[in-house]
């Protein structure tokens, strides 16, 4: 109920963050520590190149804790019913901003996908679309 009201908010904006390893495997970053989450929220509020670059810089210097097994990607229909597996899978990791020894190689590609959703109250359909995709290369600083 603020002064400038809109459905376009952090409810409908989100990001998917991946690390792409040298062999092409992807690591999906599932959880971020509080300050990384704040930086992500800043980037989602104002999705500029600069803000995503700042986030990428912080992620580059983060510590990661992940699983050794891949998690499969599944496909659902638009009623929410499971359809099938996609045949693809990602590793999964959490990121923390405290600098430490990272298990990841020093050189990696960081991908950040910025998504936006909208909802049609007449049809009750919630639709998401990829707005921008960012790729950052670099060594750990």
């Amino acid at each position: 109920m603020g002064m400038f009201a809109s459905a376009d908010s952090l409810i409908t904006r989100y990001a998917k963050i991946f690390i792409v390893l040298e062999n092409g495997d992807k690591v999906a970053i599932e959880n971020l520590s509080k300050d990384l989450k704040t930086m992500l929220d800043n980037a989602l509020y104002y999705p500029t190149d600069l803000n995503f670059r700042e986030l990428a810089k912080a992620l580059r210097n983060a510590t990661y804790h992940g699983e050794s097994n891949k998690r499969p990607i599944v496909i659902f229909d638009n009623q929410g019913k499971y359809l099938s597996g996609s045949g693809r899978a990602y590793f999964v990791a959490d990121a923390r901003s405290d600098q430490g020894v990272s298990a990841l190689p020093e050189t990696w590609l960081l991908e950040i996908e910025y998504w936006k959703a909208n909802y049609d109250p007449r049809t009750r359909v919630f639709t998401t679309s990829l707005q921008r995709s960012f790729s950052f290369k670099g060594q750990k600083q």
Partner: protein
């Protein structure tokens, strides 16, 4: 007239009440504005430190509360922090910082010019500006006026869960919606066509639309009632503003904005509606009371 206790005097409710009655508008505004930044200000260490130091100085020497210099410092500190956090600062934080400068100017001119009239004029402008601009913006926001914003808030925003529960929003559909949207956002889930049907209900839609239209209409009414500056329209405006404060900040936890509205209403009501002063003072108490964990209580019913 300062409200305070002289060293060595014993506390007397009668004497305290008499001093409250003698307090001027600038006394109340300074006190409530300081409480605004103390209770609902920025969480930044710089603003917290400056407010706490100011409060300490007031405890040591009460007259400090009317120091224009200190209010000026407080205003500048809050401006710096606001600019540093401009991307994510809530709208009412901008208004709070403007108001700090208003209080500073009121204290500078106090004694030479009618600071009560200055505060009332600026507060009236703020009320008209805030409500009219908000109502116009909402009217032209397609995702607001369609009810989309409130329907998503009722289903997905945890701050509205208890409110929705009170008004009959099916909690199972809200929970299912949260799970579905969470899945959609997951990197491990792909949805055909990137679209999914949400299990909202006709009642949720009706409630969302009702809140939407109430919000736009009541904000237009408040803003427009304070434009003519006539006794009748002002009285009606105060009644609607008080109703807005008392009903809005129960579900919407933007307490700083509610507190600021109480200060603005108090300023406008001060000279012409003495009895409404009590209503605004009680509204401050209500805003504080709304911070109680009523949401948790409601959700266990």
């Amino acid at each position: 007239m300062m409200v305070g206790l002289k060293e060595g005097s014993s506390f007397s409710i009668k004497r305290f009440a008499a001093k409250l009655e003698q307090a001027t508008l600038i006394d109340y505004v300074a006190a409530t504005t300081l409480l605004l930044v103390l209770f609902f200000g920025f969480s930044d260490i710089l603003t917290k430190f400056s407010v706490q130091i100011f409060l300490l100085l007031i405890v040591l020497k009460f007259a400090t509360i009317q120091s224009a210099w200190l209010w000026g410092v407080l205003s500048v500190v809050h401006t710096i922090v606001l600019l540093d956090n401009w991307m994510v600062a809530d709208n009412h934080k901008y208004l709070t910082v403007y108001w700090l400068y208003v209080v500073t100017i009121a204290l500078i001119i106090s004694g030479r010019f009618d600071s009560d009239r200055y505060l009332a004029t600026v507060a009236r402008f703020f009320i008209v500006f805030i409500f009219c601009v908000a109502a116009v913006q909402k009217s032209f926001s397609p995702t607001f006026i369609s009810g989309e914003m409130f329907e998503l808030n009722l289903l997905l925003d945890s701050r509205f869960t208890a409110f929705g529960h009170l008004f009959g929003v099916d909690q199972s559909s809200a929970e299912a919606t949260k799970k579905i949207v969470s899945s959609l956002k997951s990197p491990f889930v792909e949805i055909e066509g990137n679209s999914i049907l949400l299990p909202s209900t006709d009642w949720t839609r009706t409630l969302a639309l009702s809140i939407t239209w109430y919000d736009v209409i009541v904000q237009f009414v408040i803003g427009l009632l304070f434009v003519p500056s006539r006794r009748l329209t002002d009285f009606m405006g105060h009644c609607v503003l008080l109703f807005f404060i008392l009903t809005t900040y129960l579900p919407a936890p933007v307490f700083g904005f509610g507190w600021l509205l109480c200060i603005l209403g108090l300023c406008v009501a001060w000279r012409n509606f003495e009895h409404l002063r009590i209503a605004y003072l009680l509204s401050f108490v209500a805003v504080l009371a709304y911070q109680s964990p009523w949401r948790a209580w409601v959700l266990t019913w």
